[in-house]
Symmetry: C2
Subunit: 433 residues, 2 copies
Amino acid sequence: MLKGKIAKLAVSDVRFPTSLEQHGSDAMVAVCCVHANPDYSAAYVVIETDDGLKGYGITFTVGRGTEIVVCAVEALSTLVIGKTLEDIVSNFSGFYRCLTSDSQMRWIGPEKGVIQLASAAILNAIWDMWARAEGKPLWKLLVDMDPKQLIRCIDFRYITDALTEQEALNLLEKAKEGKQQREEEMLKEGYPAYTTSCAWLGYSDQQLTQLCSTALTEGWTKFKVKVGADLQDDIRRCSLIRKMIGPENSLMIDANQRWDVAEAISYVTKLAEFRPLWIEEPTCPDDILGHAAISKCHNRVMFKQFLQASALQFVQIDSCRVGSVNENLAIMLMAAKFRVPVCPHAGGVGLCELVQHLILFDYISVSASLENRMCEYVDHLHEHFKSPTVIRNAHYMPPKDPGFSSEMFDESVQKHQFPHGEVWRSILEKNGS
Amino acid sequence: MLKGKIAKLAVSDVRFPTSLEQHGSDAMVAVCCVHANPDYSAAYVVIETDDGLKGYGITFTVGRGTEIVVCAVEALSTLVIGKTLEDIVSNFSGFYRCLTSDSQMRWIGPEKGVIQLASAAILNAIWDMWARAEGKPLWKLLVDMDPKQLIRCIDFRYITDALTEQEALNLLEKAKEGKQQREEEMLKEGYPAYTTSCAWLGYSDQQLTQLCSTALTEGWTKFKVKVGADLQDDIRRCSLIRKMIGPENSLMIDANQRWDVAEAISYVTKLAEFRPLWIEEPTCPDDILGHAAISKCHNRVMFKQFLQASALQFVQIDSCRVGSVNENLAIMLMAAKFRVPVCPHAGGVGLCELVQHLILFDYISVSASLENRMCEYVDHLHEHFKSPTVIRNAHYMPPKDPGFSSEMFDESVQKHQFPHGEVWRSILEKNGS
């Protein structure tokens, strides 16, 4: 199954008009000058070999600009077409280096922004194809893989001062103990999740109360609240939620990069009485020295420094923002070395579907711990995926279908193509554009 | 002149086939898997008001992927069209924030990579238009501007922990002393330059010797050498150049992000005998903690941390990589506060033309010092610009034409459009594509 040549790569600009309902609203959105809300979107990649094997990959975006990522995927596609899956996975770090360091295209990155998102979508499709070829869900492909082969998927450039290949290998060898048990535990109980669906910034107090109450009856115990636009509002909302969930459950807050460093300190001090477990993205995502808690980063070099500088207490991996599984392996291994828990970022379009594979692998094969660990869950847009997440008693249940859970229904993709799919044609006609 | 509405924005993908001659070859280029050399390119923006005022802006790229930046410029153009120049410059930091923080497009940045390059091209065109409207070269527009108005061009978000508005204002007020004299000095003698044209990695020793010898007779005293692909080669090349230029002249080395941290230290130790003044980009441009010398960064927040961490001894600004004049003002002021000299990056397409304005402003209105300061010069592609740089005795002579020196000849743009301009049609036909 690995011998076929990748003969086709198609990429679509798929957008869901979530801005019409204030889902996904956060502090950064609220202060901006135009078009206040996100339309959850994706650059959706389908690759196909000449012997008919397919792979599906996505990268998540929030609306305008998705066409730029699509353009970047097309530019990178020349580096993929014509290669066999075997060419790629037998020297995966070499292929990764090629894709992320093309001598001309690296100028417009490197390994950040549009180009990094486009690389992630393509690499996600390749990982999906590989797992399908092996007939396994991606997490199981990773769990079963020999540590040496895992290491060969990672580009160690720029991180060897924090983690060498040998150290990575040792970490994986050491975590072999108890692996089988942890896999069984996951299959039975799933991986603990927290919900962000209750407390977006654009929701009314009534909406908040109702969502939170439903979530509690469903077994949720960990809740994230978006803050940062107005302090008095935030105090009211945090107080409301803390009252509803009681003192034992967990509350996290997320400011979505709203503050300068001094502002963040002052603001967080005032929210401290609600005992947030963490404060997420208090300031600019590039600001290592200004950070104090948890951050999404755009590549392994940024994560490395956050860890070296003890500038975060939780590592928030993302399946689509960094360079796919390859780079997330490096990040999870560095987190293990620095003994910082990984708590994935999810939500958006397909982020839950994809990242659950990574965090299952992290628990079974790397960290071997659930202490202070949980995976974000947002209850949106799962209906567009062929193998949607399964949540049971606030836990992610391990996917069973082969692949990376990244395939969407053709009909969903067609209808939501921007701007010519039927959903957008009708919205744009109404707006008279 | 400021009342007209910006009615048109056109953007072109302009590429020069420099890869055919090994100009611009560096260590990163040499190790890559495909298409080893850069084609110096630009996304070239022309804006026009409904009363006929024009502005020209560029951002520099190195070939493939320029179409992605063009796509991003088109996406951002909706934020510019319909505004008057007065709307923009009367609250320039507000406009800057809008452009760089559009609620949906910031996801694919923010303020980095493709989106940042596209913002820079647009903002460069606006600054060019403003300077033309005032009938002044850009450096003179800046030098004559009231400090309060200068401050209003800067977005201080995420940097107030390193530099407040008040501190910036104080720096500018303090530097008023001797300003008139420094301006006269610049008009008479120009700003000191160094050359990178002699020692690209792809040049033979003979080419190197000849170029270096010519440069010495032209009055050049400061030389940059590209290194990082092979240590023995580098030792030979550095030794050759040090011998030719003698012990008094300056030698700088540039590794173009080739190394990991430990490699960089070992390599640089071996090149120390040639007494380089600096080592440029020894490792990943995101690696603040791993750096030790000089770096190009993608935004003011990265520069802030390099300065806070004492991780560089020279600040290398770029007219096209960060957010145009607005963000470079912030960076030059932070450098002044931290007493680190600014030595601009130039070369490419139009980088010399643009950045000379900024460094003239830095000397006249901010740093008031030439100690350890110089501006890069590369002798390529100036013939395509209407107001090319004027170098006299290894100094940049202040431009006199109104604007940002960013306008290219129509014919140059037409001929070098990718892929349909006549230069590319003929190359692509030869290659049978």
